[in-house]
Symmetry: none
Subunit: 191 residues, 2 copies
DNA sequence: GCAAGTTGTTGCTAAAATACAACAAATGAA
DNA sequence: TTCATTTGTTGTATTTTAGCAACAACTTGC
């Protein structure tokens, strides 16, 4: 009877066929409907017009990587929970994924997948806001206060994007070399 | 001149002496006051009656481990930012630390410590004075975010000074007629 | 070693922001 | 009603900010 029989719909984004088949089988056996995308572009096509309850996404994929896709979807307001997975990840990668908005990070090959999936689907994590508490002293002159605000804003984005100036410039709506000047003026050394 | 010379006080909780000495030197060179605790019990004693701006805590320590101490402190309402560190950690450990309330997770030996420390400490809200929680969305372009910040700043001052433009201009460090133009540009009608 | 791509700096120019000045309109006290 | 003060607008000059372009230095992959 179609989709109504399932406990949930799960999108698996991973280019490793053996891996995704195993996950699909495990989830299928307990009435989750798993859909596989082998890359970012396929995944983007799949979410059009389809609701998913969970996304399991690999970090390393040919073409656009999972971290970049995560960032793109979170910024677009995508609110389905996303779990990242990787066979090998640095702590900074894991921290970054969580700060971008992933709700968990799993090591491949996956262990104990089902309890994780059940736990997520029974209590959905609230979507995190991009709001920041700036706590700037308004007794400062406007120019000084504004500079502190800009400094916080840029430090936030530098942290979020691994000091990648091209990405931060785009996020901030600034020309790349303008950003360099602004960082210098504000006394921000990204090293 | 004692503690007033420092940019911040940082508690380092780690039983590896070589590691903590290096961190202390790095931080000391740029005017941070680093204090070392070699284990959880020593750290607990040190936070009594002392304010810290940041805690760097190892995960694996003899006696009570760092994750357990993190959990204990977060549950007790400890609000100083805590960064965990470890030479080797599973993704599940890193995810757990962040979900417990750590603000970052670093791999030992540490790299790029100073930008991380500066980033954290510039975002700390000062205890009192004219501080405002602005909660501005950093996903906006810089110009848009900046305009929202300026709007909050000016509305704050208008409220504080009974819509007296001459006084607000002086507080803001702007020329009086410049302030009129800015209010108009930001869509602020003081009536 | 070399080519391609990335990072970082600087010159120049246009656009935006700010200050200064002048003046009109509104307000309030006498 | 008159006058002084305050509020509000606008022209113009100056300063600051931002974008574009060019290029040097560095990094990475082959």
């Amino acid at each position: 009877m179609g989709e109504d029989n399932y406990l949930g719909r799960i999108l698996i984004i991973d280019d490793e066929k053996e891996n995704t088949e195993i996950i699909k089988d495990i989830l299928g056996d307990v009435n989750y409907h798993a859909v596989i995308a082998s890359g970012a572009s396929e995944a983007k096509a799949m979410i059009v017009g389809h609701e998913f309850d969970l996304v399991l996404m690999d970090v390393w994929m040919p073409g656009q990587d999972g971290m970049s896709l995560l960032d793109e979807w979170i910024n677009a307001g995508f609110d389905t929970p996303i779990v990242m997975m990787s066979g090998h990840a640095e702590p900074s990668d894991i921290v970054r994924a969580l700060k971008l908005g992933a709700i968990d990070f799993l090591k491949k090959p996956l262990h104990d997948l089902l309890p994780i999936v059940r736990n997520i689907l029974t209590r959905q994590a609230p979507a995190e806001s991009n709001q920041e508490v700036s706590g700037i002293d308004f007794s400062l002159k406007l120019k000084e206060a504004r500079n502190l605000f800009e400094k916080q804003y840029l430090l936030h984005h530098l942290a979020l994007h691994d000091n990648n100036i091209a990405v931060v410039a785009e996020k901030a709506g600034l020309e790349r070399t303008t950003l360099y000047r602004k960082l210098k003026d504000l006394g921000i050394d990204k090293r």
